[in-house]
Structures are given as C-alpha cells and as structure tokens.
C-alpha cells in the first residue's frame, strides 16, 4: 500500500511538471520560476558511465580469474569474500573513502571522484554476477573449445565470455540500476553544481543530490522539480532493470 501511494504521488506530482524544458534548462535559484535539471541528468549519466568504464573491465577480469584461472586459490576465496562483504557495504562509506583517496588528492569535488565512488559500489555486483555467469557455461562447451585446439586464453575469450555474456550484462545493468539513484557517496565526491558540466574535474550535478536539495526547500517550484526529478530517476532505473531482463532472457 505505501509503495503504491508513493508511486501514485510520483506519477501525479512528478508527471505534472514533465516537459522538455526539464531536460534542457538549468535548476532555478531561490524564487525563480520554471527551470529544469538537464545538468543533473547529464551529470548522473556521465558519472554512471565513468563508474561503468572503471568497474566493468576490472570486474570482468576479476571474474575470469575467479571462475576460470584459479577458482580454488586463496586469492580467489579472499576476493569472493571481500566482494560479498562489499555488496552490503554502506554506500556513504564508499563516498568517505573516495573523498579521502581522490577528492583530497585532486583538491576538488569532481565527476571523476563521483564516478569512482559509484564504481566501488558497482564492482562487487559485477564481479559476483559475472563469475556466476561464467560458471554457468557448461564444462562440455569448454572441452569442445579445447578439443578444437584453443589455448585456455582463447577458450575464455571465444567461448566462455560470449556464452556468459547475457548473464554478465544482466549483472552490469543491475549494478547500474543500483548506483544510479545513490546520493550519499556523491555528497562526498561530486557535490553539486548549478551549471552544465564542462569538465569531469569539477563539482558535478546529479539527480539524486538535486532531489535531496530541492525537496527540503521552502519553494513550491523547487519541490515540484524534486518530484519530477524523482520520476525521471525512477524511469532511468526502470530502463536499466528492463534492459537487464531483456538481455538476460535465455535465447534458443
């Protein structure tokens, strides 16, 4: 019941403000009317993109190690354990950690730092789901590859990865959907900006922080925008969830 009422409010209140200017305008200040949050949508997409760029290759390489190269080793079981622990890691701590490691070193809040904090949150999901997907590739298919004269590396690249790809992508999409709405880590890393992104080394706007900021403001206009931004965010997450279902659907 509460879930439905939230959804209902979201659609009614958020939908009321839905228009193209939301996507093209900058957030309004104080008593200004109108405005949008194009910069926050862009910022969210850029940071999620950066996070994917970092976490997907590292996650898949780690998964190859876990699933194929050395599944029984001490390093593998330690990695698996850490990844499992990290999936339940409070996201705000990822923000604090990246604040110390990146923001202080760079001397500024930035999209890079925001992307890295999201990457930290994505990585365990990507590793664990990709490992699972690769383990699902039947032994007999790997034997077939070796029997054709593949080296182990060729077997992994030409058979294991392509066969496990739908499962791997499902994991990636779920990880993206999970971090797209994160606000806590971005507070410490990307902060916010009222302007369009012009460098990934500067503070960057995001939908989640915009919602957080605007929803507590005493202005009707900003509160309406917060609702609209929530709806857009939910739709973005929904799209990634649907993509993960579509990609992961078994093919015949």
């Amino acid at each position: 019941m509460p879930l439905f009422s939230v959804l209902y409010m979201l659609i009614v209140k958020g939908g009321a403000r839905l228009s193209t200017e939301l996507f093209t305008e900058l957030p309004p200040a104080g008593f200004e009317m109108g405005g949008g949050f194009g910069n926050a949508i862009l910022g969210t997409l850029v940071m999620v993109g950066l996070a994917s760029l970092v976490s997907i290759p590292i996650g898949i390489l780690a998964a190859i190690y876990l699933a194929e190269l050395s599944p029984m080793s001490k390093v593998a079981s330690t990695t698996r354990f850490l990844a499992k622990v990290l999936t339940g890691f409070p996201s705000i701590l990822a923000g604090v950690f990246v604040y110390a490691a990146v923001v202080l070193a760079m001397g500024s809040y930035s999209a890079i730092a925001g992307g890295i904090s999201l990457a930290v949150l994505m990585l365990p999901t990507v590793i664990l789901t990709a490992e699972e997907a690769m383990k699902m590739v039947p032994r007999k298919m790997k034997d077939a590859a070796l029997g054709m004269g593949c080296t182990r590396t060729q077997m992994i690249w030409k058979v294991v990865l392509p066969t496990g790809l739908p499962g791997i992508l499902t994991g990636v999409m779920l990880a993206v959907a999970r971090v797209a709405g994160e606000s806590a880590p971005l507070l410490f890393t990307a902060l916010f900006s009222n302007y369009w992104l012009n460098s990934v080394r500067e503070p960057t706007a995001s939908l989640s922080i915009l919602i957080y900021n605007f929803s507590s403001m005493p202005f009707e206009n900003q509160i309406e925008l917060a609702w609209a931004a929530s709806l857009v965010l939910v739709l973005i997450v929904l799209v990634f969830n649907i993509l993960s279902r579509l990609i992961g659907r078994p093919r015949t």
Partner: protein, 255 residues
C-alpha cells in the same frame, strides 16, 4: 599407421588407471575401443590428442607417435596436436552461437584465409547436415535436435580437416535413428579420415569398426587398472577371439 600409441602406465594422481596397452591406430580405418566400464577406454582415447592434460594429476608413461613425433615430447605444444587430432564428445556440445559460426570456429581459430562460406558448406555436407540447416545457418546451434547437434559437432571437427578424429561414445546420447545416421556418416568419413571411437554398444562396433580393441579391468593387487586384452580385425575379435576374457565378454554382451 596414423598413430602409434604405446602406453606403459597412465596415472590419475597416484591411481594407476591403465597399464601396458599398445594401441596402433591404422590410417583410413575405424578403430573401435570396447570393454567394461572403467577399463580406461576414454582415458586412452583422450590421451591420443592430449585432452587429458587439463586433468590435475594426469600422467602418461609411454609414447604416442603421430606424424613422426611423440606428441608427449617436451617441445610439442598440445594445442597444435589437437588441431590435427580432432575430437567428438559423448554429449553433443555445440557452442552457443549460430550453426555457421560453430562450423567456422576452428577455421577462424586457424586464421583460415580462403572462402569461409564454401568451407562451412563443405563441412556441413560432409556431416550430412547441409540439407537440414542450409536455410537457417544463422540459427543457434543449440536449437537443433540431439542428433543434429552431434552432426554439427562432427562438421565443426572436420571443417579444419584434421588427420584423425577421436569419438568418445558419439551416439550414446542419441536415439537409434540418429545413431544410424552417425554410423553411416562415420563409414563415409573414413575415406578421408582416420577414426578412433569408443563404444559401449557391441552391435555398433561390429557395424562400423574395422579394427576392435578390447580392454578389461585388472582387479588383482587391489587396484582397478585397465589394460588392452586383445586387438585385431573386428571380425576376428568377435568370431574368433584369442583370449578367454574376450570370448566371455563378447558372449556376455550378446546373450
């Protein structure tokens, strides 16, 4: 002689799985391996192209001579051996890719420079599958029936024109009709390829094998060690076996 396999001992870890088996594989013929379960038929067959190398603890004492080389010699790359000695497995195991890509897999792996389409068609024709799949080459290999999948695996194996084909119970997962098709296919293939095949089915051995090797398990001294009892022309093995053990096994299986 295509392969001359001289097994002194094969170990899995400390377990002696096979001993004293001298198994020559003649060129252009089908050699069938028969014998009770656990007597090492698969072990010996897979030793021929070093498919057992991946198993932890596997160790072979002896030689496998192929094209003037011991395939177990230090300087020999097992991957190259497998490109000359292809393998068809008990369970049909096409890759989860299109029929075309399955057949082209080995060609691409070997960076084949000629006309891929022609080669794929040739291999599929060779495996008696072309007419059934020529209109759906883009369909997944996994969408075929079991018998078709196994013929696809044969097409995949012959596409790169290996010298020898190893088949480990290639029909045991198939129904009688699909089995017959594979058997006919093997008889056609032996004109170009040397084939070594494991089978549990005595009738199948008499139908397709030119030469039959009978293995048994030695359980004296507390072990379970397989060894070659007798090998010869299939007719001779089934009608006039030299060894008492062979005689009993064949009588047991046929009655």
């Amino acid at each position: 002689m295509a392969i001359h396999c001289v097994v002194e001992k094969i170990f899995y870890g400390s377990f002696l799985a096979v001993r004293d088996s001298n198994v020559p594989i003649q060129k252009g013929k089908i050699t069938g391996f028969i014998g009770p379960s656990g007597c090492g038929k698969s072990t010996v067959l897979r030793s021929l192209n070093r498919m057992n190398d991946m198993i932890n603890g596997f160790r072979l004492e002896g030689q496998v001579h192929f094209m003037g080389q011991d395939v177990y010699a230090k300087q020999v790359d097992p991957v190259i051996v497998r490109r000359f000695i292809g393998m068809v497995f008990q369970q049909p195991n096409p890759f989860s890719m299109s029929i075309y890509d399955n057949v082209a897999f080995g060609l691409r792996l070997n960076r084949y420079k000629g006309n891929l389409d022609e080669k794929v068609e040739y291999a599929l024709r060779r495996a008696a599958l072309w007419d059934e799949v020529k209109d759906k080459l883009k369909a997944s290999g996994l969408s075929l029936s079991g018998g078709q999948q196994q013929r696809l695996c044969i097409a995949r194996a012959v596409a790169t024109e290996p010298t020898v084909l190893l088949m480990d119970e290639p029909c045991s997962a198939l129904d009688p009709i699909a089995t017959r098709r594979i058997e006919e296919l093997m008889l056609e293939l032996k004109e170009e390829y040397t084939i070594a095949m494991v089978t549990h089915n005595m009738q199948q051995a008499t139908r397709v094998a030119d030469i039959t090797a009978f293995f048994a398990v030695d359980i004296s001294k507390g072990g379970r060690t397989g060894y070659l009892v007798e090998m010869g022309e299939t007719k001779q093995i089934f009608e006039a076996p030299q060894e008492q053990l062979t005689k009993e096994y064949i009588r047991g299986e046929f009655s």
